[in-house]
Amino acid sequence: MDDLRRPTGFLFALLGLILLLYGIFSSARAELVPNVNVNFWCGLTLLIFGGIMLWLSYRTKS
């Protein structure tokens, strides 16, 4: 089977990107942490994680 890091990377990058954009463009905040843009930071984390997975995957292939 293909390198699992690639599909995993795509999944997390996609979920992260959606969440990041939602964090930027929506005003959704959590009840107990109204000052933190949880969506933005968590989206960024997911995106970075997905990016690392993709980078690892493409690095070994080439």
Binding site: L15, I18, L19, A28, E31, L32
Partner: protein
């Protein structure tokens, strides 16, 4: 708690993804072994993460967070004492026999080492247990979704079960294992922010320590007497019951986890699997238990958070995880959190289903129903069994309604099935003389002894059906002691019967028993990939954690 459209987007992307993995894995399947055992071809980093993910079911996530709120950080004993030492042991000492024997399952190892009846007994009890666990997990999730999201119990259970069914049916064990890795990442990335936010809000670890009773922020300090800690256990029951019998019984003999290690490409990979897995395992309490501890601190500081009450009074600890999510996650991240919960449910259920279909196909069907069919036939049986396993799980989901704490109930089940088994394996792998009759009667006695202990003791209103002879301070203590008694009974009877029966000739024990097995050569393996050095590093990290949270 209500979900926004964005939350459903994450959930749907994730569902599409798991089915896609199943579709990708499908191309590799030609034989029954490809389907049921992955054809021993999975890279070690994947087997390692799958090794712990298969155990991180939804009831584990909910139960650990609940126990964190109920018992405090002492709950981490389930990881540091109740998992890691056993994971080291199975990697160092037992994997050479499991992997080296070429057995396809744990019951098959028993058949090779002992005899047919030992395999049969283990296969049947294991099959029942996996279905049971899977059913409880499904029940827990369905109930939670009904309570928290207002989803229909039957529909949400059926939907999640059908998705697991489709991807395990398509890609077999490979699909399940690959998905477990993704599920592991999703669980960590979906729950870790909750832990960080909740702990931060409660004033950090020092703020939590200041607000809670000291017993909630220590693991060992208050275990001299059972009355000192809310778990109601003292150090002997804790170490012997949880740390030795239950832990080793689960991590060293439960085919559900062993199967992941046995799917590795080489014997080195199989031995590394539990050892690599031990590192994330040590740190999981910070993701799954800490939010529960923080929840109690948040309650005491009028932060706007409180643990929901049961209709009958008392806290409903099983709701701690989801209520925290509702308070700390906005629409968007809430979807990721729920997807993570769904992922944990699926990894737990797929683990049970893939272990069940292998044991049924090879150890029950091929052994007792149809012995010499073409491999294609067994592949077909494996697929049918996958469907049957899911259907049976759905059926048993409704049996799980009588027990209030899911974790306690699971312990109860494991106490019966796995506790005596570890005595059988310990003797079987390290004492050449151990006979099949000894092993079989030891296992039977262990199970009966466990059942009798439960029938004769009471804790929190449970047990004592025969006669309430003894009262335990908590269900936890009761479970630990059932395990200790069950294990001891199995050990003693196995030794006693062995001494009066004829052992197998040593020539037949090659690759099955210590002393007549060629241990794997490690010349070509780098030092940090060798089991010995790896185990030492794990132990050092473990000791440090225990000191910090003593």
């Amino acid at each position: 708690m209500t979900l926004a459209p964005i939350d459903y987007v994450s959930l749907i992307i994730y569902f599409a993804f798991v089915l896609g993995i199943g579709w990708m894995a499908k191309r590799k399947i030609a034989t029954s072994e490809d389907f049921l055992t992955s054809g021993r071809s999975v890279p070690v980093w994947i087997t390692s993460l799958a090794f712990i993910a298969a155990n991180l079911g939804a009831q584990e996530m909910i139960g650990m967070c609940a126990s964190g709120a109920k018992y405090g950080i002492m709950t981490a004993q389930f990881y540091w004492l109740g998992a890691v030492p056993a994971m080291i042991f199975v990697g160092l000492f037992m994997m050479p026999f499991y992997y080296g024997s070429r057995a396809r399952s744990v019951p098959e190892y028993l058949k090779l080492r002992f005899d047919e009846k030992t395999r049969g007994l283990n296969a049947i009890t294991f099959a029942i247990m996996t279905i049971f666990s899977s059913g409880i997990s499904m029940y827990a999730l369905g109930l939670l979704f009904e309570l928290v999201l207002g989803w229909n119990f039957t529909n949400s259970v059926l939907l999640s079960a059908v998705i697991v069914l489709v991807y395990t049916l398509l890609g077999g064990l490979t699909s399940a294992i690959y998905n477990e890795v993704v599920q592991f990442f999703l669980i960590v990335l979906g729950f870790a922010p909750l832990s960080i936010l909740a702990v931060e809000k409660a004033g950090g670890w020092s703020g939590i320590s200041a607000r809670l009773q000291p017993v909630m922020t220590h693991t060992w300090e208050y275990t001299t007497h059972a009355s000192q800690n809310p778990m109601g256990v003292e150090v002997f029951g804790l170490v012997a019951g949880l740390g030795f019998v239950l832990s080793f019984g689960y991590w060293c003999t439960n085919f559900l986890v062993i199967q992941r290690a046995m799917a590795a490409e080489t014997i080195h990979g199989a031995r590394q699997t539990p050892l690599f897995a031990a590192f994330p395992k040590i740190f999981m309490p910070f993701v799954v238990i800490l939010p529960g501890v923080a929840a109690v601190a948040l309650m005491s500081m009028s932060s706007g958070y409180s643990i929901p009450l049961k209709p009958t009074g008392g806290f409903n600890y099983d709701l701690v995880l989801t209520t925290l999510m509702a308070k700390f996650y906005p629409a968007g991240m809430l979807g990721i959190g729920l997807t993570a919960l769904m992922a944990s449910f699926m990894s737990g259920m797929a683990g049970n289903v893939t272990a069940f279909n292998t044991v049924f196909t090879y150890d029950l069907y091929q052994s007792y129903i149809k012995r010499d069919a073409a491999d294609n036939h067994y592949l077909w049986v494996g697929r049918i069994t996958t469907v049957a396993g899911v259907a049976l799980s759905i059926g048993t989901a409704f049996l799980a309604t009588h027990f209030n704490n899911i974790m306690d109930f699971l312990q109860l089940v494991f106490a019966f099935v796995n506790a005596p088994l570890f005595a059988t394996f310990l003797l079987g792998m390290f004492w050449k003389r151990t006979t099949g009759h000894g092993a079989f009667w030891g296992m039977v006695t262990g199970l009966v002894a466990g059942g009798l202990t439960l029938g004769l003791t009471v804790a929190e209103g449970k047990g004592g059906w025969i006669a309430p002879v003894h009262q335990f301070p908590s269900s936890m203590a009761q479970n630990f002691w059932i395990a200790i008694i069950s294990w001891s009974a199995c050990f003693l009877v196995t030794v006693a019967v062995t001494l009066f029966t004829k052992p197998k000739p040593v020539a037949e024990l090659h690759n099955l028993v210590y002393g007549v097995t060629d241990l794997p050569h490690e010349e070509g393996v780098r030092w940090y990939k060798r089991p010995g050095p790896l185990a030492i590093i794990v132990i050092i990290v473990l000791i440090i954690m225990n000191i910090i949270y003593w």
